[in-house]
Structure formats: C-alpha cells, structure tokens
Subunit: 342 residues, 2 copies
C-alpha cells in the first residue's frame, strides 16, 4: 500500500461497500454489529483517516469556525480564545485561530483563507473597523460576530464592552476619593475604545461638576512607550494631577515604569486606575486598581451568538451585547495618607 488508504481500500479489505463504511465512520447506525466490527478492524489495520476535504465537498458545513484576533501576544486574546473554545468544544465545533498583528492587509488574507476553507462562521476583533475588505464577509453570507471592536460597514452581531461606563466608574472612583486634578492618558481618538474611554472620563468630571482641564489630557497610542511619555508629561506640569487614569494595559505598564523612574510615588503622591487588568497589578505596592474586562465570558457569548446565527441565519435580528467591565478596587486609587493636596 503505497498511498494513503481511502474509503475504497477499507471497503475492499472489509468486503463491504463504501456506503457501509461511510455509515460506520459517521456513526449513522443501521449496520450489523459484525459488519461494523469488520470495518473497524480494516480501518485500524490500514490506518485509515477520512479526508476532511472530500467530506467538505459533499456537505455544506465544516463544523469549523475561524477566530481572528489582532495580537495573540496580548493576554486578552488568549483568554477570549479560551472562552470561545470552551463553548465550541461543547458543541463539537473546531476552532482555527489566526492573528493579524493589527495589520488590515494580513487580516484580509486571513479572511480570504478562512472563506476558502469554508468555515461555518467567523469571530473577529478587526484591525480596521472601517475596512472595506470586511464587506466580503457580508457578500459571502458567512455568519460573523464582531468582538471588542465593531464593524462599521455592515450590520453584524456584536459583543462589546461598555468603555464609557468602565472609564466613568474609574474616574468616579477617583473623584469620590477626593481627587479633583485627574489626568487621563488617552488612546487614539479615532479608535472606538480610545474615544469612548475618554468620553467616560469627561462624563464623570461633568457629573461631579469638575471642569475639564485640557492640560490633564495627554495622548498616547495604546503602547507602553506612549504611556511612559504621557506620564512624564503629566509629571512635569507645574500643577501636577493628583490622580491618573490610563486608557489601556500597555500604557499602564509604561506609566508604572515612568512613575518609578520619576520617583513619583504611587499611592502617596499620585493615585491611579487603569483600564484593563494587568498581571503586575497585584505585585505593585500599593496594588493597582483597574477596570477589568470579562474576556472569557465575552468569548463564550461570542460563540453562542455565532452558533445561533449559523443555525438560523437570516431569521434572527442582529444582536448587540454590551458587557459591563468591572472596577476592581485595590489600593492605588486612594492615597496612603488619605490626604489629597488641593
């Protein structure tokens, strides 16, 4: 036997027809016990493995979903994946994952590849919410669920986190601790999370009658380096803020490094809350307060939405989930001496 054995070879060896073999490998029943055993033995001996390709050609579904994330090295996405896979494996779906490195060009390639493979659906955190190329998903009629970032060009099921609310809660917390000079390290304002978190910041100030001071608003680009620079900028203000809110995890890390370098003492001279949990949060002293996003749950919901969509296609209205992030209050949002300089 030179080549890979196929269903023919199994049938021949077992002395039955290929139809019967097919029934056995698909557990469809209606096969006599002895026959089945004969076939199983043949499969065993030949080392037969059925071809997914041939199977996919006959059936329209593949029991496979594609997941596209922007950065597999950001711990959020593995967590998201875990949530998705949990639900997927319960339903006997297989998951294939690709990372775009935040590149729309790569993302487009991945989408095409997934489409060629005939995935039953796609869960995506897109690298470009405005991407024209995303329309191919609609054109092809593939079920899609957008996670964490919406898709602008057409309407899809979406699972988002309430950025406004999360930022609001964080800033509110700082205000309630007595802070009035609160700096924000913003994310890019052309991105939804960047913008929305800033809106939450504004809203909280407004609700508590604190006028917005432009000098406390510093821009970052969600990178660690920008968090570092921004923190330094805030520090060198003649009238330093007494509290800082950082708009994402990487900038939080940059911020912590800057604090250390500047000897701007966390919890003593400056309070802090960051958006997104970070591993280091509980290793700093004081421990960092953060706004945490339930990524695992988001993954579970995303798969559930996708699964429904796969089975009901058009008959379902588009659903939009907006999950509330959780404010985890540790110590960094209060001053050690509970005295806030005015």
């Amino acid at each position: 036997m030179e080549n890979k054995p196929n269903i023919q070879d199994v049938a021949k060896k077992a002395g039955v027809s290929i139809a019967t073999v097919s029934r056995v490998i698909n557990n469809q029943g209606g096969v006599r016990r002895v026959t089945e055993e004969k076939i199983q033995r043949a499969i065993e001996e030949l080392g037969y493995i059925r071809s997914a390709a041939a199977r996919t050609m006959k059936r329209k579904d593949t029991k496979t979903i594609g997941v596209i994330v922007p950065d597999i090295q950001n711990p959020f996405f593995p967590l998201l994946m875990a949530g998705i896979e949990q639900k997927a494996s319960e339903r006997d779906y297989f998951t294939i994952l690709s990372s775009t490195n935040e590149s729309p060009v790569i993302e487009e390639k991945i989408i095409r590849n997934f489409l060629e493979r005939g995935v039953d659906g796609i869960i995506i955190t897109t690298a470009n919410e405005d991407g024209e190329y995303l329309k191919v998903l609609e054109e092809q009629g593939v079920p899609v669920v957008a996670v964490d970032r919406s898709i602008k060009k057409f309407d899809v099921d979406t699972v988002l986190v309430d950025n406004v609310k999360g930022a609001y809660q964080a800033v509110q917390r700082l205000i309630l601790q007595g802070h009035r000079k609160i700096g924000i390290i913003r994310g890019p304002q052309h991105t939804t999370p960047g913008l929305e978190r800033y809106i939450g910041y504004q809203k909280a100030l407004e609700d508590y009658g604190i006028p917005l001071d432009e000098s406390y608003v510093v821009d970052g680009d969600f990178s660690e380096a920008s968090g570092y620079t921004a923190t330094s900028e805030l520090y060198h203000l003649r009238d330093k803020p007494t509290a800082v809110f950082s708009s994402n995890n990487m900038m939080t890390i940059g911020c912590m490094k800057a604090l250390d370098a500047l000897d701007w003492r966390l919890g003593e001279e400056v309070a802090f809350i960051g958006f997104d949990d970070v591993d280091i949060a509980t290793f700093l002293s004081p421990k960092l307060s953060v706004v945490a996003r339930p990524m695992y749950a988001i993954g579970e919901i995303a798969f559930t939405l996708l699964h429904d969509r796969i089975h009901f296609k058009e008959d379902l209205p588009k659903r939009k989930y907006l999950l509330s992030p959780e404010l985890i209050t540790r110590q960094s949002c209060a001053m050690t001496d509970s005295h806030i300089p005015r």
Copy 2:
C-alpha cells in the same frame, strides 16, 4: 444565483473553459491578457472564492501547518506562535493553532482533526511525551517537529532548551554570590523540564563542592499555588536557605506572593533566581533575575525544520536542536547588603 458560484459559473460568465479559469486563479500564466481580464472581471462580479476543499482533493499538499500547544494562556506559547508564523508567512504557509489545555485526550482529538484536514506538517509541544496516540503521526508519515518537550515513542526533529544548563547557570550564579544554602522548588520529576532543571541544580552544587541538603529540595507541580506552598515550607525550616531557585514561571509568581505574605524580604533576607522570564520581573524590587528561553527563536527554528522535512521527507536525518537559555541577571540574585549569613 442562489448558491455559491463555482469555477463553472465563472467560466460560463467569462465565456471560457474551466481549465482557463483555473490557470488564472493559480497564476500559472499562458493565458492571453484579454482573456485573463475577462475572467478577473467575472470573478469579481460573481464574488467567486475558490474552494480549498476541492483544491485539496486534487493536490496532495495544503500549504497549511498545524501547531499544537498545551496552554495558550501561558505567554510562552503566543511568543512561540509568533516565531512560527513569522517564518511560515514568509514561505506562504498558513498556520492553524489549537490548545490542548494539557489534556492528552484533547490532544489526540486535535491530532486526528489536523490529520483529516491534511496539514502538511505539525509542530507540537505535547501534553504527554509518552503518549501512545502520538504514534499515529509516525504511521501517517506526517512531518512533525517537537518543541520544548520531546516525543519518546519515535524519533522526530526536536527543538529543546537546555534545561540542565539553564538551571546550572542560575544556581552557579547564586553560589558565586556567596550562597551555600540554596533551596530549589522543583517541578514534577516525571517531566523532562522538571527533572532536568533539578539535575542542573545538583550539578552546580556538586561542581562547587556544596553537599546536597535534602531539606532544601521542595517539590512543586509547576503551578502558582505549589510555588507558594513550597516557599512557605522553605521559610519555616529551622535553618532557612539564603537563596531560592524556582523551576518555572508560575511557581515563581507563587513564590513572590509567599515572600510578600511571609515578609521574607527579597534581596535582603533571601536571594532568588527563577527559570523562565515573567512579566513581573522588572516590577519587583529588587528586579528578578531569571533564566529566559528564546521562544520566538525556537518558533522560527521549528518552522524551518518542519519546512525542510516537508520537502525532503525521509532523506534527512532527524535533527535535534538544543538551545541555550539566557541568564538575565538583574538584582534579586544578590543580597542588598552583600552579606550572606552562614
């Protein structure tokens, strides 16, 4: 047009044969300019996407490799993935990733699935180095590269990190700092990394004429909790060690938490080096010294090995790479006051 358009539809619309369309979508050349343009237009208008399944049936390769990791949430593996994908995309290979959660049962399923899909090769960090089920890989003749953990049942290309050397260097470093009472938090001794790192520890002690003190050898299971417990055990010894070596990242984290809880002051009362880098390393004070593994490079090498193997199959001897980990010396391996109690 109800169903998905196929190559037939494109051919009809463009007024050519399917063979010509095939030539165009595969960039095989030998098609007149005008004809090609006609076909491109038809593809565009129809929104045609070629079926990977049908294609795979005719060709023997899929230009796809499968990657199996035990825990996608452990930051090593995303890094490994990144290295693999980097090289893979250069060669126009597509990567599909699955995580086993350290479960051999899931691993077996994933392997079958990859095999059914006809992946051209597999890169795996197995959940069970002794797994019988791994033999199917050999039987099917799929090129395999084992990463970070070897495969016992048959011979494959392998990329490992020199655990003995890494642990040796770490312990040697502690010894050179003047420590003689060095505790080790071991990993499970039935796992290769667990065992080898312990061997490195033993060797270093031996080379420097320090007798092995059993009470300084504490067992963990690579989990954070076990690192915590083990540290506590070492602390409560009547004759505490003056330095601790932890066998992996999670246990290092547990160890740090325990140090904090026990008020066993890092760098003052106890020196420390851990195997594996951790995010928190530079946020602690003193900063943690660690043995770091070049996972990205490992990924690159793994893909390269696999690629060679795919193209030369049997004609290649099995290659074993053993990469040296790097000892990153920060501050935690020395005592602040440079005074080591004897």
